[in-house]
Symmetry: C2
Amino acid sequence: MKKHYLLTPGPTPIPLEVALKEALPIFHHRTNEFVTIYKDIAEGLKYVFQTKNEVYTVASSGTGAMEIAVTNLLSLGDEIMVASCGNFGDRWIKIAEGYGVKVISVLVKWGKVVKPADIERVLKVNPNIKAVYVTLTETSTGVVNDIKVIGEIVSKTNAVLVVDAVSGLVGQEFRTDDWKVDVVISGSQKGLMLAPGLAFIVLSDKAWALAESSKIPKFYFDIKKYKKSYGVNETPFTPPVTLILALQESLRLIKERGLENMWNDYKLLAKAARAGMKALGLKLFGEAPCNVVTVACVPVEIGCRIVKILREKYGVSIADGQGDLKGKIIRFAHMGYIGKVDLLVGFACLEMVFAELGVNIEKGKAVAAVEEELLKA
Amino acid sequence: MKKHYLLTPGPTPIPLEVALKEALPIFHHRTNEFVTIYKDIAEGLKYVFQTKNEVYTVASSGTGAMEIAVTNLLSLGDEIMVASCGNFGDRWIKIAEGYGVKVISVLVKWGKVVKPADIERVLKVNPNIKAVYVTLTETSTGVVNDIKVIGEIVSKTNAVLVVDAVSGLVGQEFRTDDWKVDVVISGSQKGLMLAPGLAFIVLSDKAWALAESSKIPKFYFDIKKYKKSYGVNETPFTPPVTLILALQESLRLIKERGLENMWNDYKLLAKAARAGMKALGLKLFGEAPCNVVTVACVPVEIGCRIVKILREKYGVSIADGQGDLKGKIIRFAHMGYIGKVDLLVGFACLEMVFAELGVNIEKGKAVAAVEEELLKA
């Protein structure tokens, strides 16, 4: 009978009208019915990615799409740059090095953002760099990188820019084509308000040129197979039909609300969440906070307990820190199907947990701060 | 308002009690709730695979698991045998050759089954063969290979036996451990009565020894990551939570009915379907017909039209032939959540389509033949 409130940076809650699509009778994927849905989804994905290029859907977690963006662009011994500011940025390094790619890592301290000037400098010194990998919103630290400026820099070189928009898509302003991003990958369980199980990738012409000469072996993740099938409204392997049906509905909801409106919605939620954290007496973690998750520092001795009690007593799930930040930060998501009322719920329960833990807070103050910001809009 | 009847060899219909699980509120995968489900599923999967070894669940189509069974056991230049009798057997060759593995292909004409004696002979002549890849039920032709005998042969050598049980699991008697099979892969959308999106793999100790020395690079499909996470009831990447919830329910249904009972159920359906085809005046295609799909030869001039009219007029989906068999055979599935009544529906509609196409048939005769076989049980 416990009621659950999911405020974690993925999976995120799923609207019931989307979730119910998953329960509809399954049908065969080599039919006109599927082609109609497929075409509709193709247009919807172009819209959320803000691109004129084809967006491919793959049955895998988001990491599968990251792997596609490595193994399809490169060959053994190729040189790339990974500009990382957290856990998900670091994953690019692990994947690429595993495939024998030479990685020049541009690392910043967790909580900081990637400096576009560093990317420019490293690209100048290393003209052989074939691709630059960077994360839009780094949910391990709650920051957002300036992809627009980075896109401008990379577009003037021979390198392609690859962006991990798994957590940032829909939640944070992002324009693939206008910002000159060559490759974007994402997943289903964040801004797209779906269950996990689908990954997405889009490639520019500049990226396709690299893909043509890539020599790393691949089969299931061979993007050329997906491109070929896309051309005839098919998928190279059996697609997760129920997730695809749900995707069609979530894309419809996003279009109905409008992507720019959604970017602004999450911007407001982020502003309110930051005000709430401050009112709780917490220091925000990280420069350039993103709009999809708010990260705050908590006293180490109560860090893990906050998350645990919140979940066990109130059914409210937020996230703890990852790696070295475990127990030191809390991460409160406002991506996907998380709205104003969820924020009020989360902060009210946080107040109760803080009080229970003996932290000296004024009850109602954080909720009031959230209300105030939300009312400004 | 059209009613659909899915009688294709995957995707197959999903019981509503399973499908509705996909619509339940999503929850986080790093929680005690998920661990409880995960452990339950672990036991259920061991049961359907008839193994004491760990069965790993991967977010991908079945082909992803095939790739795992290639890239995790082998290294560049290794020698393997693929004994193929159809489209899905041939896929092993494509995957392995793409990774620079030397493939000794033992091919039989489509419709025939792999001869265990051929495998024995080729293994003797090529003692360096590290693995033998074979398909349990080859849905492109409707035959079943004698895995028990093949397992006996391969187990006496240094090679491991890898079986594609994507379409055969649950539908056809199959005993991983008793039959000395080292690696089995499967998918969610056939005998397990789920939507597509999950793949499965199990490895014996003999296979793990190979996996330890494999040098083909991999990341998302690195089975060691799955083994490590399995040990702590986790998944290396975000799992498709809704599909996993549905899997728990389908495993419960299978356990309730009993695996051996299910094997017998499909055996009966297959017998009835063969009788129905014969009563329609069709010749069965292939020796050693399997229990999950019945394949019959049809006059080439009407082959494609049968499938098309059946779907468009009556909402009944069966499958056409693949590759060279396109238009020459029809494939009528009885796997997963397809039962006696579905068979009656399928054959009654086939009779109507045949009559419409001007084929000289006696209306009701095929249905009668199906009824007769079903009543014998």
